[in-house]
Symmetry: C2
Subunit: 726 residues, 2 copies
């Protein structure tokens, strides 16, 4: 509970006391918005009294600082350095510049905010509390970093309404901010008509030295500059300190010049601790520069206000402690107790939040007008953006393969699927990290997404896998129904692995299209041939990995991926072949969704062969060669989907009592979950024509037959590991 307490600056208290004459702060420390009433339009920044304003600026910033210090002290864990330094930036954003409505954290046209220096999340929690988000009541702040709380140790969109993306891994937030800005520009270009702007907002981001050093930041900011994302505003908290000490130790590049090289608008604020006027000017200039993304480089002091620890790396990641908190209170002349928020501070923030609520009301009115003026587009907006639903019968657009169809690589089937959906699912948007012609990920009826054409849907991400993935994640988490996809070679998921992980964690609906999914890609050799890649991706919780065997399963994979994406359930990763695949009997789109199923059924089998992707046809061929043995052939396009089936289905498909043999051109270790023996590759690949590789690594009918016989004789485990060729 945060009872109104006399402010140390009684002058400000008296000026705002009128609106607290009724009990406007509830028992949870939440300001009761209704009690304010529509009549209140006082905005702190509109006061002509600049001295008063200055005091208020300090007071609001200090309030944020002490909420952070107190919560971190109470948790005995956390990162006070960043919130103390970034408080003025956060204060101005959440009390003056950002447009949002705490009562509706998902309002489509809100400004987006990303705390890329996510370890400093108490900044964001303090701001969200002060502005009145129900998700961050004072009790939540007191539960900072505790089991089950809504205030975890880094901002998590899936735990706390009002957090747009999950950050913590450095650089990720910046790249997410770029993705949010991409989504904004795309939707604006797609839907805004004749002055009725459904989507038109800024994306703000705060990042520290650590974020700026990451290659991920480089990739994302280079894309942002290339795309002239003028509504993106990045604050660089330039505090000269990283965990190991002074930035002189490792980080001496000219960051401003670097961002100019990217095509950004760059400003500096020399005293970010106290120069509120300078900060305000910089934000306004950044807002006005709409042809370039803006970097505002703000010199701050890490741990500002802590008399004994400010400016030192030790305050980055440890509570300041009670004694230092007391010293800070004295130093900053802060007379309030732990977790106490002065009324006038609440007032400043919640008055601004009220304006956000009004803005949403205005938006609702615009939306009504829009529906009348543009009924067709409004219908699409309603479905795709607001309802986040898919067109009726969308799944029927996906192709099914007939016996007389030409055999194709699964990357080609993927291209067919993508293009089958492209027109009816206009929220599909994506591209490749410069491998479009290989990944086959271009939507032929769509234009390129560029600074000249934000309505385009084919994105050229450049050779920037990590940035690409993080951008796509944020496009999904923009929450406006976009279905983003991105593509590279399977092996280069390594480059973007943490973004795949963050998609899974934060339930971003990114579709990762990966091609060249085995040693069968051939001559490019081991640097390009995935061996461990697919099994290792299957380890990531909430990632659905799909390795379809042919056109029907590729269509099934798309059916799964798009539904997961649209419903923000999480990412789906497709593993597709470079080489042409034989056609298989028994595959269907619907069965694919089961994760595993029999393509060649057999009562009381002697043996079960389990194949994935390109190896399914080998399993089928081996079955023929194994006659008269009774062999069931199971296709397993997705281990994760199969795991989700009923115990009965799983036991009947793969009974414990029947010897089971997996065939996949990958490391074998994880296959023992499902089978008794494995054929795989436990070493790196080799440069040679694809068919030579597959043969040399043991993917032949004769080797499968031989391994099956050994299995039936009682051998277990990895029966063929690719080393037969050596």
């Amino acid at each position: 509970m945060a009872p109104p307490v006399a402010s140390s600056r009684s002058q400000s208290k008296s000026k705002t006391a009128d609106i607290f004459s009724s009990p406007t702060v509830d028992s949870l420390g939440l300001f009761n918005q209704d009690a304010i009433g529509d009549a209140i339009t006082l905005k702190s920044s509109s006061s002509g009294d600049s001295l008063y304003q200055e005091e208020l600026d300090h007071q609001c910033s200090n309030c944020i600082r002490f909420l952070a210090v107190d919560a971190i002290n109470k948790a005995k864990s956390g990162h006070p350095g960043a919130p103390l330094g970034q408080a003025p930036i956060g204060y101005l954003l959440y009390s003056e510049f950002m447009q949002f409505n705490p009562a509706n954290p998902t309002w489509l046209n809100r400004d987006r905010f990303v705390l890329s220096s996510g370890h400093g999340c108490m900044l964001q929690y303090a701001l969200m509390h002060l502005t009145g988000f129900d998700s961050v009541r004072m009790d939540d702040i007191k539960e900072f970093r505790q089991w089950g709380s809504r205030t975890p140790g880094h901002p998590e969109n899936f735990e706390t309404a009002g957090i747009d993306v999950t950050t913590g891994p450095l650089g990720m937030g910046i790249a997410n901010a770029v993705g949010l800005a991409v989504a904004e520009r795309h939707l604006a270009a797609t839907y805004n008509v004749d002055g009725l702007d459904l989507i038109d907002h800024f994306t703000y981001c705060i990042a520290g030295d650590g974020c700026l050093q990451e290659g991920l930041c480089h990739e994302a900011c280079a894309i942002a500059g290339h795309l002239s994302l003028g509504k993106l505003i990045l604050f660089y908290d330039d505090n000269n300190i990283t965990i190991e000490g002074s930035t002189e130790l490792s980080f001496t590049e000219d960051v401003s010049m670097r961002f100019q090289a990217y095509g950004w608008h760059v400003q500096s604020v020399a005293d970010g601790n106290q120069d509120f006027s300078g900060l305000r000017k910089a934000v306004k200039a950044a807002q006005e520069e709409t042809s370039k993304p803006s970097l505002i480089r703000v010199k701050t002091t890490i741990g500002f206000g802590s008399p004994n620890k400010a400016g030192n790396e030790k305050i980055h990641g440890s509570p300041v402690g009670l004694a230092e908190a007391a010293a800070m209170r004295e130093h900053l002349e802060w007379e309030h107790g732990e977790f106490e928020v002065p009324d006038n501070v609440y007032d400043v923030f919640r008055t601004h939040a009220k304006q956000g609520a009004l803005a949403e009301e205005q938006w609702n009115a615009s939306w009504c007008a829009y529906q009348k003026a543009n009924p067709e587009l409004a219908k699409q907006f309603q479905r795709a953006v607001i309802d986040r639903s898919l067109p009726t019968d969308w799944q029927k657009l996906l192709p099914s393969v007939q016996d007389n169809d030409k055999a194709l690589a699964s990357r080609q089937h993927s291209q067919v699927c993508l293009n089958a959906l492209a027109e009816s699912v206009p929220e599909l948007i994506g591209g490749s990290a410069d491998l479009g012609p290989s990944n086959l990920t271009v939507m032929k009826t769509a234009k390129d997404f560029s600074a000249d054409c934000y309505g385009g849907r084919n994105i050229h991400f450049g050779v920037r896998e990590f940035g690409m993935a993080a951008v796509c994640n944020a496009m999904s988490l923009h929450g406006t129904g976009l279905v983003p996809y991105c593509a590279t070679f399977t092996v280069f998921t390594d480059y973007m692995r943490n973004a795949i992980r963050l998609a899974a964690l934060s339930k971003a609906g990114t579709i990762f299209i990966t091609t060249h999914d085995s040693v069968a890609l051939g001559e490019d050799g081991p640097t390009h041939q995935p061996v461990e890649t697919i099994p290792s991706l299957r380890m990531i919780p909430n990632l659905v990995v799909m390795r379809p065997a042919d056109g029907n399963e590729t269509a099934g994979a798309y059916a799964v991926a798009i539904l997961r994406s649209k419903n923000l359930l999480g990412p789906t990763l497709l593993c597709l072949s470079r080489q042409t695949l034989s056609k298989n009997e028994g595959t269907t789109l619907e069965s694919t969704k089961l994760g595993a199923y029999a393509v060649c059924e057999c009562e009381n089998p002697d043996l079960i062969l389990v194949g994935t992707g390109s190896e399914l046809s080998l399993a089928m061929d081996a079955k023929e060669a194994l006659k008269p043995l009774r062999v069931r052939v199971v296709s397993m396009p997705s281990c994760e989907l199969f795991r989700a089936q009923s115990r009965q289905y799983k036991d009947e498909l793969l009974p414990r009592s029947v010897p089971k043999l997996s065939i996949e051109m990958s490391t074998t270790y994880a296959w023992c979950e499902f089978v008794d023996g494995c054929i795989g590759i436990n070493s790196f690949g080799a440069s040679a024509p694809g068919p030579v590789c597959t043969e040399k690594f043991g993917f032949t009918v004769s080797n499968v037959v031989s391994c099956a016989e050994r299995l039936l004789q009682g051998e277990r485990g990895t029966l063929s590991d690719g080393s037969m060729c050596e």
Copy 2:
């Protein structure tokens, strides 16, 4: 075979014909160096005839181009675009500027060369053939990209002597070049005394647009600038084309300004196709600028010389075909047949190579003088650098834990090990991606490595995990006995995963020290808590992952890691706890090397509990609680090392007939290789104090006992997946 053929430019032929009067080209197309004789000192570039020189420049460049075109045509696979454009750069490096001896590809003080645009490897193979490397005979070139050849589809150091590092994944080569330059500066500072310079060489690198776009390039080049690596020279093949088309599509940043921001010396050559004089001047200026790394931005035409395909993205990755090769021959007035090399071209390259052999002879003389002048340092150089051996009894320096020792986290044990070795193993060099105080990876007796102190051994890599890892890999592959280590949190191995993979593939001896290895790290929450990370790393071939349970096993892990590193067998990755670990009975350094062993033996066990790292003590506690059941407790610090044991050892330790239960705070799927039931975590972690997390995720004695009972009753598979808390 490459018989001497009349050159289209008979003028040059006549000038060099004298040295071909004896049969100097052997049956494999290899120039016989002995036949040249020491007397020949003619150097093509010393000719006063500039017209002749110009012709020769073109001829040599074109010879490279046609070797590339012909080999790629023959292979029906490959990337002609880059070699055609980069031929002049490669020609000048290998015929004039680089110091190396093809007869001894491992000469310590050779200049290093990295083709970061590794897909263009026919450039490097052509150059290596022309200069006389035995590893690239003409027959090898004709076997380009074929099974078992020494000319795989990307440059691979482990296949082809004379290739310094393995490239292909974009950006990797640049980062490796930075690592080679770091190694050079460190060894120079450590060993060069009084004008006797044992190590003093340049590192050259060629990279294309793709490499320059990667975040990895950003990280590595930022480090290089920060460290003032003046002997690093990077050619940027600026050909305006990436796979998807013009760089206008995605890559419009000002690269020169960006590198200036990093603190690099930047030059441009406007016509890299034909302006040999401009290229020479730029290289000389880059060599002379020793206080900054140099970028030479060379405008080239992709596929230069191909009349119908040059300048187009389609020539990047497909053979030009026979017809276009013929058209090229006409266009460039090249009268030689497929795989034909004119004598005078061989002459140019091999005359220069001869100078490299002389340089090595001079170096050998210096080394003799050095041994007399600096016997102590010479002894160290002989052991650490030349012999690449470790000090006698080095392993005895590693600590063993006694019963009365204070319990520590394994990251603390790691710090003890590192510091125990630091003085006696001066080739240990490394650091953290700005997490030194958390990873505990500082060698207390060593100085910081910096531009002012290259002799330092504690490297501040900055928040640049991927760059760090690639730099360390190259320090190992510098081949001079360095034992590089690098550190970050376990979960952020995601950021550098492809560098870990490349270390494993290319047998780099990098030691990856990762800490905060489970949900027990606590409050930082799921973005920081590895769950799938360790099992997924175990999938990488030739990577040894070690998760030690206490001080003895941490010492064992170091014993393994350092030996692997020093012998260039491959990388080792340590997974260490943030939290204090209970002490265990039965652990020893030597047993750790087995990968798995019984810490609590038991004849005819009813049950076997298998634990790793921090979970070993839980297994021990559960064993007590399971009495009177006979329980064997097995510690498995490394699955990979255990797999390498004899079949008998494995069967005896983990008999098929005894129910076995694994306990590890990771995803369970791969554990089925070794056990029948698993306790693990198959979802993401959560933010809360570490002990709360471990309990909530099921890592309690009571849950282990309960799972053990279910296992004994016949249940199989994942018995506890962390979801009990939800």
